[in-house]
Symmetry: C2
Subunit: 460 residues, 2 copies
C-alpha cells in the first residue's frame, strides 16, 4: 500500500463520536485510506492519532510518497496471470453443459445475450445484529427483475460472491472489485448511502454481463429461497472446480478458427486500447478531482467573500445618513446574500453531477485494472510450440490443439471487448448527458439568481 | 513608497521590445509599480533587471513589505493639512466675485449646481512629436458638451490641471489623483486605451463637480481657443493666489451658522463614514482582485484541462475499432472543445465586467484617500479660543469670528459630502447593474454552450 503524505490546508475541528480527526493548517498528515468516500479520507497525524478528515482540507505533497507494503491490488494482479499451458494443451471439445457459446454478431464475436436483461435493485439498508447484539452489520435488500422477490445480503456475502466470480471467470472476464471495506464510521448514513450506491452499480454491471448473470452462483445470490437453500448453494459453489484458465474449455465459438498471427494482432489492438483508455480515465479522474476540490474549497470561499464584501459595503453605505440611500443599500445587501447562496450552490454542485461522472469513470478505471492478461502469455506459448515439437516435448497434434485453443481464447476476449465497448458507449453517453444537463441547470440557476439581484437596482 | 516582494507563480518569457521581464516560477521579485494597468505590473528581479510582468503570474509574499522611502501620497497628505488659523481668524465677508454659495437642499447643505451638467468626451489618442521627432508623446482630444469643440491635451497638461485644482481647491474638496504616469511601454495600445479610459473617468468626475467645473482654470482647459489663449490662461492660473485654506473665504452659506459642538458632531459622523467606506472599498478591491486572478489563472487552466481530458478520451474511444462509436466520440470531442471555449470565456470575463466595478471602486478609494482633513484641526483651534482670549492673544470678537468661519467650513464639508454621496449612489448603482447584467449574460452563455454540447449525445 502507498501511504501518501499530505498537508492540511485549513483548520478542521473534529466532531466527537464521528471518528473525525482535528487538524491544523500546515500540519503534516499521512493518508491511510483514500477510499472512505463521501468526501472524507482517513488520516494519521504526527502523534499517531487517526481519524476522518475532509478530503478538501488536505493537499498531497508532491514527490513525497512512502512505499509501505505491497498493495493487495498487486497481489490480485499477479494471481490473475496464471499459466495458460494447462488449458492450451487440453484436447477435449467444449463441454455441452454450461457451454458458453460465442457468435458472430454485427460488431464481431459476441456472447449469447439473454432475451430479457437481468437487473436488480439494491435498497433498504437495515442494521442487523448477531450474537445477542455484540456484532452488528448492515443488511441490504436486493430485488432482481426476474423474480421480483427480494433477498437480503450483508456486505460479506457480496464479498463472497466476488471471490467466487473471480475464481471462476477471472481469467476470461474482468470482475471489478467491490467498493472498499471500511471499518471506521461504517454506520454513518453518508457512508451507507455511498456503499449502497456502489453495490448497486456493481450488481447492475454483473447483471448486464451475459456470462456472469447466467451463472449458478450469481443466480443463487439473487434468487435463493431460504436460508437452507442459500447454505446448500454456497457449499456447492465453493466446490466448483471450473476455476482459472479452464473456464475457456466451456467456450464454444461458432466461427472459423483464427490463425495465431491474427490472434496476436487483435490482442495488440485491444491492449493498446485498454492501456490508453486507462490513461484517459485517470486523466479525467484527476481533473475532476481537482475541480471538485476547487468548487468545494477556494471557489466557495471566494463567492462567500464577494457576498460578504458587498453586504459590508451595503452596511457602510447605510450609515451615511444621506437620503435616498435605501434602494442601493438594499440592492447591495440582496446581491451579497445571493453571492453567498451561489457559494453554497457552487460547493454543492459536484455532489449532484460530477459525482456520477467520477463514479462511472472510477468503475471503468477498476474494470481496466482487472482486465485479464492471460492471452499474452498464451500467445508466447504458442509461438514456442515449434521448438517444443522439435524437442519432442509435445506432439505436432498438440501444436494444432494449442492454436485452436488460442483461437477460442481470442474469441472470448473479443466477445468480452465487444461487451465492454457496448457498455462503455452506453455508460459514458448516459453519464455525460446527465452531467451536462445538470451543468446547464447549474449555470441557469446562477443566472436566474443574479437576475433577481439585478432587478433590485434602480434603472437610471 | 512601499516596495513589495512577490513570488513568481509561473514561468513567463518576455517578448523583446515590449519592456517585459522574463521570470521563472518560484523566483523572488520586487514590485516597483502596481499601477501599470492592463493586468501588468513593473517588477525588478534579484539581478536588478526591471520590466513588465503579468499581474496574474506573481503572488505577493505575506508579511514581507519593505518600507522604502516616504511616499508621494504621504507628502501630499501632509500638505493638505495646513494650518487653518489664517482663515479662521480672517474677518472679511465672502467675496462677491467668484463667490461659492451653499444652499439648504432636500438632503442638507448643497453646492450651487448648474442648469445643465457639463461633461466631456476624451477620445482619439494620437502620437505627436516635438524637437524634430526626438521626443514623442500622446495627445488626446477632449470635447466638452458645452461648446462641442474639441481641444487637444497631452498627459502633462492634465497633470498641470491637477496641480492647479489641488492648490486651489484641495483644502475643501477631494481632488482625485490622475492615472499614474508610466515610462515603460507607454505607447502600447493596451496602455493607451487604459489611460484614456481613466482620464475620461477623471474628467467626467471633475465635470460633474459644480465648484471645479465652474472654475476659470477648468474652463480654460476645456475651451481654450488657440495656443495663445492657452498660454495666457496658463500664466494667469499659475498666478492665482486663492490657494490653500483661503478658498473658504469665497464660500457663502445662505443658512444659519452652526455651533462648534454641532460642527464637531457632524465632522465625526463624516469621518466615521469615510473611514469605514475606505475599509469597505479596500475589502471589495481585494476580493475582486483575487477573483480576477482566479478566473484568468487556475480556473481558465482547469476548464482547459477538463476540455483536454474529454477530447483525449474521445480520441482514445475513437481507436476502439468498435462500430457505433462515432456519435459518442464526436459528442465528447465537441464537449471538450466547448470546455476550452468556456476556459477562454471565463478568463476574458473579468475584463468585460469586473474591470469596471474595480475601476469605480478604485476611483472611490482614491477620492477617500484625498478627502481634506483640515476641519479636524480647525475644530481644535476653536476649542482653544477661550484660552487664547483669556491670555489676551486674541480678542473676544476673534473668537466669534472663528466660530462663524468654522461654521462655513462645516457647511462646505457638508455640501461636499452630499455631493459625494449623490455621486456615490449613482456610480455604484450604475456599475453594479452593469456588472450583474454582464454576469447574467456570462452564465447564460455558458449554459447555452453546454446545451449545444448536450444536444450531441444520443437520447437513449
Amino acid at each position: 500500500m502507498c501511504y501518501v503524505q499530505a498537508q492540511a490546508l485549513y483548520d478542521f475541528t473534529a466532531v466527537s463520536g464521528n471518528n473525525e480527526l482535528s487538524i491544523q493548517e500546515g500540519e503534516t498528515l499521512t493518508v491511510i485510506n483514500w477510499n472512505v468516500g463521501g468526501g472524507w479520507v482517513e488520516a494519521q497525524n504526527s502523534k499517531g492519532q487517526t481519524g476522518l478528515v475532509p478530503e478538501d482540507y488536505i493537499q498531497v505533497r508532491k514527490n513525497i510518497v512512502i512505499i509501505h507494503i505491497l498493495s493487495k491490488i498487486h497481489i490480485n494482479f499477479f494471481s490473475k496471470a496464471p499459466n495458460p499451458e494447462v488449458y492450451l494443451l487440453s484436447k477435449h471439445l467444449p463441454k455441452q453443459t454450461d457451454r458458453l457459446p460465442i457468435y458472430m454478431g454485427e460488431v464481431g464475436p459476441v456472447w449469447l445475450y439473454p432475451q430479457s436483461q437481468l437487473d436488480c435493485v439494491v435498497a433498504d439498508p437495515k442494521k442487523g445484529s448477531k450474537m445477542y447484539g455484540l456484532k452488528s452489520y448492515i443488511e441490504y435488500q436486493i430485488t432482481p427483475n426476474s423474480t421480483n422477490r427480494p433477498v437480503n445480503h450483508r456486505y460479506k456475502h457480496f464479498d463472497w460472491l466476488y471471490e467466487r466470480l473471480t475464481e471462476k471467470f477471472g481469467c476470461a472476464l474482468p470482475i471489478p472489485s467491490l467498493p472498499d471495506k471500511q471499518v471506521t464510521g461504517r454506520f454513518e448514513d453518508e457512508f451507507i448511502k455511498m456503499r449502497m450506491e456502489r453495490l448497486q452499480a456493481w450488481m447492475s454491471r454483473m447483471c448486464r454481463h451475459p456470462v456472469v448473470s447466467n451463472s449458478d452462483v450469481f443466480q443463487l445470490f439473487l434468487t435463493y429461497k431460504d436460508e437452507k437453500d442459500w447454505k446448500e448453494g454456497k457449499r456447492k459453489a465453493e466446490k466448483d472446480e471450473t476455476a482459472g484458465v479452464m473456464i475457456f474449455s466451456y467456450m464454444d465459438p461458432e466461427v472459423p478458427d483464427l490463425e495465431p498471427t491474427e490472434v496476436e494482432q487483435r490482442y495488440e489492438t485491444y491492449s493498446r486500447f485498454t492501456r490508453s483508455m486507462d490513461d484517459g480515465v485517470k486523466d479525467l479522474h484527476s481533473v475532476s478531482h481537482l475541480h471538485w476540490k476547487r468548487c468545494t474549497g477556494p471557489l466557495q470561499k471566494e463567492y462567500r467573500h464577494i457576498g460578504k464584501a458587498l453586504q459590508n459595503l451595503s452596511s457602510v453605505f447605510n450609515t451615511s445618513g444621506y437620503q435616498g440611500e435605501a434602494t442601493l443599500t438594499e440592492a447591495l445587501m440582496t446581491t451579497g446574500k445571493i453571492y453567498e447562496e451561489i457559494a453554497e450552490i457552487v460547493a454543492g454542485q459536484p455532489k449532484k453531477d460530477l459525482h456520477y461522472l467520477m463514479e462511472t469513470n472510477n468503475e471503468y478505471k477498476g474494470l481496466l485494472g482487472c482486465f485479464p492478461d492471460i492471452i499474452g502469455a498464451a500467445i508466447e506459448k504458442v509461438k514456442d510450440a515449434d521448438r517444443l515439437v522439435a524437442m519432442n516435448k509435445i506432439a505436432p497434434q498438440d501444436k494444432h490443439n494449442m492454436a485452436k485453443n488460442l483461437s477460442t481464447m481470442s474469441y472470448a476476449f473479443q466477445a468480452e471487448m465487444n461487451h465492454f465497448h457496448s457498455n462503455r458507449i452506453y455508460d459514458y453517453n448516459r453519464v455525460m448527458q446527465f452531467y451536462l444537463q445538470e451543468q446547464v441547470k447549474f449555470y441557469e440557476t446562477i443566472a436566474e439568481k443574479l437576475k433577481q439581484a439585478l432587478s433590485q437596482y434602480t434603472n437610471l
